[in-house]
Structure formats: C-alpha cells, structure tokens
Amino acid sequence: MKKKTLGMAVVVLAILTLSLGFSLALKGAGNLPSPREIAVVRIEGQIGGGSGALSQDAFVDVQRTKETLDSLTEDPLVSAVVLDIDSPGGETAPTADIVYSIRDLRARKPVVSYVSSMGASGGYWIASSANRTVVAPLAVVGSIGVFSDFFDASALLAKVGVNYTTLKAGKYKDAGSFARPMTDEERAYVQGIIDKIHDEFVSSVSHDRNIPVETLMPLAQGQIFLGRDAVSLGLADRLGTKKDAIELAKELSGAGTYSVSELSTSGGWTDFLRQMGATAGQALGRGFSEAVLSFAAREQRIA
C-alpha cells in the first residue's frame, strides 16, 4: 500500500513537471507570436434589447462587450485596440455603458474605431469615444439624436367597443399609455427626458471629438452622413479600410512589430459547445489561473 502511494505521488509529480516543462518551453522558446498586441473587437448589430444565445447575431451582447473591453484594459500584452463597428444604434443606457468602458480603456492604451458600413446613433456614440475614428467612404455615420415612439389607439378601442381602465398612483405613471392621447403636461415631461439624453449624447461626442457644442449641435439633429462628409465635418478623422485603422492603432501605440487578433463579443451556443468539449479539470485549471492572474493584475495596479 505504501509502495502504491509512493508510486501515485511519483505519477502526480511527473504530470506536474511535464506541465511546467511544457509551459516554460513554450514561454521561453518564443516561437509562437504573441497574438494580442493589436486587438480588434467586433461590435455588430443593435445595441441592447436582445439576450440569450439565439439573438447573438442580431444584437450586441452588451455584457460580453464590456467584459472584453475591461479585460483588454488590464491585458499587458495588448498595446492598442480597434473597434470594428457595424451598428445602427439601440438603447441608450447600454450604449452609454459601453462608452464608459471605452473611456477606461482609452485612458490606458490607444483605441481606434472603424466603421465599414454603419455607425449610426448609438453606433456612432461608441465610435466617437475612441481616440481616432476611421470610416469607409460610403459608410453611414452620425444620426446623433434620440427618439421614442408612442401610439394612441384610443379611437380604435372606442370603435371596437373596448373600455380600457387604468388605476394609478403617481401623475406620470402611465404617461405614454396607448389607450388615451398624451396630455400636454406628459408630452413636456417625456420630451424633457429625451432632451436630457440628447444633451448627454451631444456633450459626450463634443468632449471625445473635441468639437464645440455650438458647432456640433447643427450636425446633431438626427442626420446621417456618408463617411467622406463625416470626415470633412469633423465627425471622423480619416477615410480608410480596416487595415488602415489597424495601422493607425499601431502608430498610436508605438508598437514596432505587432500581430492582430480578432475578438468576438458574441456569446451563447459557441461558448456552450466549447465548454462541452473541455474537461472539468481543464475548466478548473483555467479558473484557478484566471483568479491568480486577475489578483496579480489588481496588485500591480495598486502598486
């Protein structure tokens, strides 16, 4: 029994030695490129409103996007980030959430946004929060504005003989109800909120693009601009391709040599399948290492 226990210890130690040896060989040999010096993050689809695996192609996964941006902020091997944007915008709060993460990222390393096809409304808000913005000549850019839809179905309800009753506490609790016309007071209340969101949007773009509010305001009436017009109006820095955006990120970071890695911010089925293909031991090992690395990064930041 003692002999067997000793034998088992030898096997476990041998596995540990092999693991360490392999890690050090790969780390020291330097025969593999570091793949994340310029990270490209794809931000595609409507922002917010979608959740779950089945909607991953149509909506930006806000939580995952933020996690990716936050991890890139801490990653010492990433010297710059390119945001590859194709989005018509979406909900305001999730958009602002992503913008805050980009500002944190930008404080640590250069961020370049690239709009190939559409960077409108919230999509433009995100693009404008980078250090530099590169757009394709025919990309749709801008649409700095806010809207909210309400419909009044009271005439229809009356026509079909439906009586709709709302009991409420709080004057504005059912503002925007479809069962009655909006009162002037409610209209002013909702318009006030929309104006505040618009002000926030405009001041954010004004700050990040360094355009005075009075200059920006005429361009922030919900219009869209083609890429080449956006550059001449100061809403973007230059025309170009994704490769140009990566080159610009390289210049800004001062990286001599670099490699590019494309990061997906989609979740759902791909994650599920990857998990099913891994073993519990691998997941544990990865989990332990992530905890240690995250702790080390925090300590380094405090120091």
């Binding site: 476990v12 693991s19 010492p76 073993t279 544990l284 332990f288 290492s289 690395l293």
Partner: protein
C-alpha cells in the same frame, strides 16, 4: 449500485481537481496571458492539458488499477474476466477506457450505462473488458 456509482463520482471529482491543479493550472497560468483563446497557442495549451490528463488516467489505471481519486474512495479498475479477483488492466484496456474522459460530452454519453448497468461499467469499460469494483 448506488454506493458504487457515488464513489465513482467522488473519485472522478477528486481526479479532476488533481488534474486541474497539476496539469492544467501551470499551463493556463504561464501561457494564458499570451493567448486570446483562439489560434495556435490556445490549441497547444488545450492539447497539452488533454495529453497530460490522458497520461494520468492511463498510467494510473495500468500501473495501479486505481487513480488517486479511486484510491481515496477505495474502488479499483480490474479486468472484467477476473471480477473481484483484481486482475490487472492491460495498457490498451486502460487507454480505451480513458479516451472519453477527455471530452465531457462523450464521457456523459459513455456513463449513461452506469445508470442501469449496476454502476460498474461505462460503455468503454464494456468495450475494453474492464470493470470497477469496491476495493477495501
């Protein structure tokens, strides 16, 4: 059946914990900062981690008839023909019964047989001619 199945589950959890600590942890700790989870390096980390796990499962089954987890919970892999006689497991038998442990989903399918087979044999046990018995 229930007792043996429970012990096998505990043994597996202990072994995965050991493998997580000694095989996967150093690899991910030292190499993850250089990998984005895709590409050649990520593939190398995954492959190395799986290879070390396979070495562990096969060598412990072949040399001792028990992994560390099985030793703790006192069960043993034996040649099916020997039953509780404790016949030694051959190298290829150990290899065959270990392969599905490298992919969670396959192991799950492989283990379904335990639910109605007495808890002694996974499908690959039956194929390899091995069985797991309580071993005091």
């Amino acid at each position: 059946m229930g007792a043996l199945l429970g012990r096998r589950l505990w043994a597996f959890l202990i072994d995965e914990l050991v493998l997580g600590a000694v095989a996967a942890f150093p690899l991910y700790l030292l190499l993850t900062p250089r990998s984005d989870g895709t590409g050649a390096l990520a593939l190398a980390i995954g492959a190395a981690s799986q290879a070390l796990a396979l070495i562990y499962w096969v060598s412990t089954d072949y040399l001792f008839g028990q992994s560390l987890g099985k030793m703790v919970v006192r069960v043993k892999t034996v040649a099916a023909s020997s039953g509780r006689g404790g016949g030694k497991v051959g190298f290829f038998q150990a290899l065959l019964r270990s392969l599905t442990k490298l992919v969670n989903f396959l192991l799950l399918l492989d283990s379904l047989r335990l639910l109605w087979g007495g808890g002694e044999q996974r499908s690959t046990d039956a194929l390899a001619g091995t069985t797991v018995v309580e071993w005091i």
